[in-house]
């Protein structure tokens, strides 16, 4: 089971956090501080796993971002690397060659996509196409609602 997902930039800035196990706010910031300290300082050729408080943290660096997932000691580390890559590919497809700035200004989108990929710390969908389809269907609903609201408020604005 994945206990949490972290996206941290090379400068140690948090770009996304998702907690599937209960951690208090205090614990959360402690975890983030501790782990980014460990992971950002690891050399480039080393393995992608860090043992930490009886758990394992699988991380992978894509450009300036570190994607980290914390799992139980007996879970399959290699698979988690694939899950990370899967997520990155979906992000890439959604944003069109994703970069850190996309994830900063559209952080909520990154969360929405993650929610279509993982629930309860388990993988939900192995097809990138399906995830993309479900996300775009929901985006369209939001757009439609916006237009409607926009037109109403436009009318009100005109009237007043």
């Amino acid at each position: 089971q994945i206990h949490f997902v972290l996206l941290v930039s090379r400068q140690g800035k948090v770009r996304l956090t998702k907690w599937y196990s209960p951690y208090t706010q205090k614990e959360r910031s402690k975890v983030i501080r501790e782990l980014s300290g460990v992971i950002l300082n690891r050399g480039p050729k080393l393995c992608n796993f860090v043992e930490w408080r009886g758990y394992k943290v699988v991380y992978k660096r894509y450009a300036s971002l570190y994607f980290c997932m914390c799992i139980d000691a007996e879970d399959n580390e290699l698979e988690v690397l694939e899950i990370i890559h899967h997520y990155v590919e979906i992000l890439d497809r959604y944003f069109g060659s994703v970069c850190e700035l996309d994830l900063i200004f559209n952080f909520h989108k990154a969360y929405y996509i993650l929610d279509e990929l993982l629930i309860a710390g388990e993988i939900q969908e192995s097809s990138k196409k399906t995830v993309a389809r479900i996300i775009s269907a929901q985006d369209q609903m939001v757009e439609a609602a916006k237009e409607e609201a926009g037109s109403i408020s436009y009318i009100i604005a005109q009237a007043s």
């Binding site: 948090v14 770009r15 996304l16 956090t17 998702k18 907690w19 599937y20 209960p22 951690y23 208090t24 706010q25 910031s29 983030i32 050399g43 050729k45 080393l46 393995c47 992608n48 796993f49 860090v50 043992e51 399959n76 580390e77 290699l78 698979e79 690397l81 694939e82 899950i83 899967h86 900063i104 200004f105 952080f107 909520h108 969360y111 929405y112 929610d115 629930i119 309860a120 388990e122 993988i123 939900q124 969908e125 192995s126 097809s127 990138k128 196409k129 399906t130 479900i134 269907a137 929901q138 609903m141 939001v142 609602a145 916006k146 609201a149 926009g150 408020s153 436009y154 604005a157």
Partner: protein
Amino acid sequence: MNPFSSSTRLRDMIRSIRACKTAAEERGVVRKECADIRASINENDPHDRHRNLAKLMFIHMLGYPTHFGQMECLKLIASPGFPEKRIGYLGLMLLLDERQEVLMLVTNSLKQDLNHTNQYVVGLALCALGNICSAEMARDLAPEVERLIQFRDPNIRKKAALCSTRIVRKVPDLAENFINAASSLLKEKHHGVLITGVQLCYELCTINDEALEFFRKKCTEGLIKTLRDITNSAYQPEYDVAGITDPFLHIRLLKLLRVLGHGDADASDLMTDILAQVATKTESNKNAGNAVLYECVETIMAIEDTSSLRVLAINILGRFLSNRDNNIRYVALNMLMKAIAFDDQAVQRHRVTILECVKDPDASIRKRALELVSLLVNENNVKQLTKELIDYLEISDEDFKEDLSAKICSIVEKFSPEKIWYIDQMLKVLSEAGKFVKDDVWHALIVVISNASELHGYTVRALYKAVLTYSEQETLVRVAIWCIGEYGDLLVNNVGMLGIEDPITVTECDAVDVVEDAITRHNSDMTTKAMALVALLKLSSRCPSISERIKDVILKQKGSLLLEMQQRAIEFNSIVERHKNIRWSSLVERMPVLDEATFNVRRAGSLPASVSTMAKPSVSIPNGVAAAPLVDLLDLDSDDILAAPSSSSGADFLQDLLGVDLGSSSAQSGATPTPKAGTDLLLDILSIGTPSPAQNSTSAIDLLSTADMNNNSSTALDTLSSSAPPHIATTASAGGMFDLLDGLSPSPSKEATNGPAYPPIVAYESSSLKIEFTFSKPTGNPQTTNVEATFINISPNTFTDFVFQAAVPKFLQLHLDPASSNALPANGGKVTQNLRVTNSQHGKKSLVMRMRIGYKVNGKDVLEEGQINNFPRGL
């Protein structure tokens, strides 16, 4: 969105935060934004909610408090539109966790949304529920989720399946409700639904035996077929990862087959073919393929014995181990630890490679490899492996030395074939990594040295040589000065030379030099310096010719700022000066040989009890580890014994051992004995085998050495009841035990068993530590009070080197037993220690005590002091 809104847009806020050059500037921007958001929340304008929450989430990610936005999430979730609900649920998952009360308020909205006509709204609710639901919510909403597993749209089915996974994790009782629904998912073709369905079945199997049986009977063959289909399927671009069709599904299927095959030969048999196929056919040049292989190996090793498959698995691991990819090597090491259990030989073959991994530049790999090596050690290879590890210790990174030296020490202690080898290896470790060695390790070394009388000379000379080179290794210095103090004469006179030794010339002055060095070196700590002073005192009697010089060295410490040092210096000085006569005789003679067995009992007893008693209750009795549960038993009143005979593993074990059924025993065991005495007595009885002649005093060890104690206690008993056979010399504390053991007739000591009870007190409480005292009186001795002190760590940090000291006024006598451990784990970790207080003014004065507690938090010393005035009256 709202043209009337005055607040900044999300995008602009992010820009202005990113434009900040300093942290202070950023805090300023965030403070202003938060103030705006608060104001807007107070206005309660629904149009701004969406944007406010989005901003709050961003601010939250930066680490600022955002609790004031929690209610906004709830309002958004309750609003009718999809965009509001979408962001509302996202905020809920980000800003709250399952332990917050506020979360309960959302249950109703969730319930409505789970029944919403728009499937995407249902999806949002399922996702939120699956990610953060509490046990209570799980119970409330389980029927809705169960229904949704059968929903027409696969997107909802898969979400409902994972949501159910969370529900049964939170409330295992609900598992059986989901069995049918879960099994229907296994027939699905849609990969997402299938993956989540398999995951749900796996979860159910691990928490519910019925489910496990059900799936094993009904679904094993179907799952095997699914796995075969997917393994053999043609290229499917939608699911292909590096040439493997849907590795995620592969892995989940293999995982479920693992629990179905484990412990069931028939099911294991069924899956042999497909496992062999996966193990041989899967491409291993990409990570995805290796992930599948790795899972497959794990399944092969967990199911019932199919030896041909296991050979295959071991071969795969061998290949992994020689892979150049660090990730693959890491998992290979991880897996080989499990493989040792059934094929030690096969793993031993990779020993050389594994040893190489101990020296890897990657800390993760080193750690795994070291764990694995310590499992590989046996009597035959211990010498060679230890040599390799010690050689590496010399050149390893500083930060790895702690782990490595601890491992070496435990290997050496466990497998040492002879004492001289043990001593040699320990000296090497202390020389290379002495500053990392834990106290119990060097204490144990001293005990061993003390017992090896034929090696005293050899050891002290070896230590002398080592300490000249490695004087910065604290624990080495301590052991060396202890030995020089004890065996200095052997050092100087080359007594007891072994054939392998080269003679060395050490003058008495040289010996004193080493000890003086330890005192004067500025980074020596208190313990070392104090030990050095004792060593000097001892040397002054061993080597009278230099006692003047020793006196000078001691005198220099008279001005020490450390109280302990100053006191020792002054007292020792007066011994050297004025008591020459006794000095030669008994005062500073060689320490009596330390009892190895007792030490081991104590050392084992100071391990965290939960670990040792839980793991192997049967082994732990001889080591005294199970003492704590036994104490519980002995402390119980007679009624409680009937009620809770199996309350702890120790009790059960006691029953088995003694062959006495405590539950039906009519014995009155109301005595409240000193727990320590009771258990030691028990050990004693067990080893003797015949309960009746057993004699008791405060402890088994004292029993051997103090004869008059026995006399005291027997008179105590005589006054208690004249009918007691005089040869059973026992203090009241033994009364309960005897009752247990013969259990035939009411014991004579019974009448005196129930003294007045005293309420427990909280003796001390600070922000990080709480101390509770419980009291009991041994029968027949109203002046004595047994106090069980429980130290509770209420801080989030682990305490180490925990020491409790207490002082009492003259009319009281205090005896402290060793504490159960010297480390308190964070957040409620406990240590207990027994105290015995004798009040010579019993009935006139109450107990009073001053205490001092020292411990280390993250290597920093902490000292707490206090006075306890709230003892119950009449103790």
